[in-house]
Amino acid sequence: MTAPAYPKTWRRPPQILANRRIRIAIQIGVLIYLVLAVGSIEVNWLRVFEGLERGQRFVMGFLSPDFTSRWRDIQQGLVESLTMTLTSTVIGVALSIPIGIGGARNMVPRPVYLVCRSIIAVSRALQEIIVAIFLVAMFGFGPFAGFLTLTFATIGFIGKLLADEIEEIDASQVEAIRATGATWPQLLVYAVQPQVMPRIIGLSLYRLDINFRESAVIGIVGAGGIGATLNTAIDRYEYDSAGAILLIIIAIVMVAEYSSSYLRKFLQ
């Protein structure tokens, strides 16, 4: 009796796509796309070559940042950014709590649900920077437009996550409170709020972190904050000041990220 002929060598089976034909077709498609896409980039190599010297200056500026000569501008930008971040997070969270409750299917009648969910969808679909352009056109330059932009973005973010969270709460606790004869507001305070409070706090801290990061960007279109200072520094080719601003942004983001993750762990 002879043993069946086992293959002498082992080949690793394909990982994602098992069908060989589809795999080859996708590979060819990707190749064609890459050729077309790379072909459509027009690069002015002379300009790139000239720019390299500037790039080197930027790297040098990053390595030896200049905090002092523009310190007043940097300080003002930072104060604007930080105050904008805090106020917009507080107002945004305060506004998004009713909208989040209204967006939870298990808490409200259907028309209210639809209205709240569409508010959330609009706020999430529009990018901060585009909202900022419009609000700057309406409210004028400065941190007030930035504050409104960040508030608007916060509503969509917290509202959506809070609504999803409320939809997933333990229904038996709600039923138990309802069985005591509680009214709708009492139901919110004693059945829903204890279940979602840790999440609200965690999300607010996370959003605080995001809002600071965004406040560095919306300044580019005139909404105040450290982004405006950075934009000015780059326009003036003052790369050492720009490097200093970027380092400050990175440092604050790092501190915010670590302390918010620490706080969230502590609260849960």
Partner: protein
């Protein structure tokens, strides 16, 4: 039967000490908020703020009806935008993979020296928005698609790197041990022990980032890095609000489509 003395006759949710602390906490938050509000609005010109509803009505009336004749002109910038996002994602992922392997605790060659460097790269890339990267790169290598692609790539390193190194750290150690037990070298352990385990999350993360990048690349042109944003900037400069409506609707459509596509792809992968 009477209730024991230490239980108050009326049920309270919190002890008086807890409610005092809670009240103080709220007071501090409100005080901080009021203070920040005053600092922030010091230089606000309230006349402009009060004027806002009129401005909004004015802009709204200029935005409608949309100038649909502008749409064909936007097709080339749309193609550019898609290229910025896709090529940027490819570049970012290629750079992120080695960083992720250096940052993961179980694959890093040196935990004391290389791992902190990799983690710093990840944090630095994550904390600077792609628009700021684009602003820098346009100043350095000049306006155009290339600046946008590099900006997207640099921004993607942190996101992909962070999620990927977490996936590497969560790999099953027994499978790696089994491969090691066959006498495989480090490179073989990597290809046969670790890579198959992280492949699904790798594709999932890349597609997810591609979807985010589409969203971000639509606005990169505002600072001169090509694509739809460039057209938007041009229309903004001449206050052609009816053209801006068309651009915004196009951006919205692209974002919704790419989001649906990415959700479908990720469902198929995982």
């Amino acid at each position: 039967m009477s209730t024991p003395a230490h239980i108050p006759p009326v049920w309270m949710r919190r002890t008086s000490r807890q409610s005092l602390l809670l009240w103080l906490g709220w007071l501090a938050l409100v005080a901080l908020f009021v203070w920040c509000w005053q600092v922030m609005t010091q230089s606000t010109i309230w006349a402009f703020v009060l004027d806002a509803p009129d401005q909004a009505a004015d802009i709204g009336s200029r935005m409608l009806p949309p100038e649909w004749g502008y749409l064909p002109e936007l097709m080339l910038p749309l193609w550019d935008t898609l290229n910025i996002a896709t090529l940027g994602t490819v570049g970012g992922v290629i750079m992120a993979v080695p960083v992720a392997f250096l940052a993961a605790r179980n694959t890093t060659p040196s935990a004391t020296f290389l791992r902190p460097v990799a983690l710093f790269i990840i944090v630095a890339s994550r904390s600077i928005n792609s628009l700021i990267w684009a602003l820098l790169l346009v100043a350095i290598i000049g306006p155009g698609l290339l600046a946008g692609i590099i900006a997207i790539a640099l921004r993607s390193i942190g996101f992909v790197g962070k999620l990927l190194y977490e996936a590497i750290e969560e790999t099953d150690a027994r499978q790696i041990e089994a491969i090691t037990a066959t006498g495989a070298g480090p490179a073989q352990v990597l290809t046969y022990g670790i890579v198959p385990q992280i492949m699904p999350s790798f594709w999932g993360i890349s597609v997810f980032r591609w979807d985010i990048n589409i969203r971000e690349s639509t606005i990169l042109g505002l600072v001169g890095a090509g694509g739809l944003g460039l057209k938007m900037n041009a229309s903004l400069a001449v206050l052609a609000w009816d053209q801006i409506t068309v651009i915004l609707l196009l951006i919205l459509g692209t974002v919704v489509l790419s989001e649906a596509l990415s959700a479908k792809l990720r469902k198929a992968i995982i």
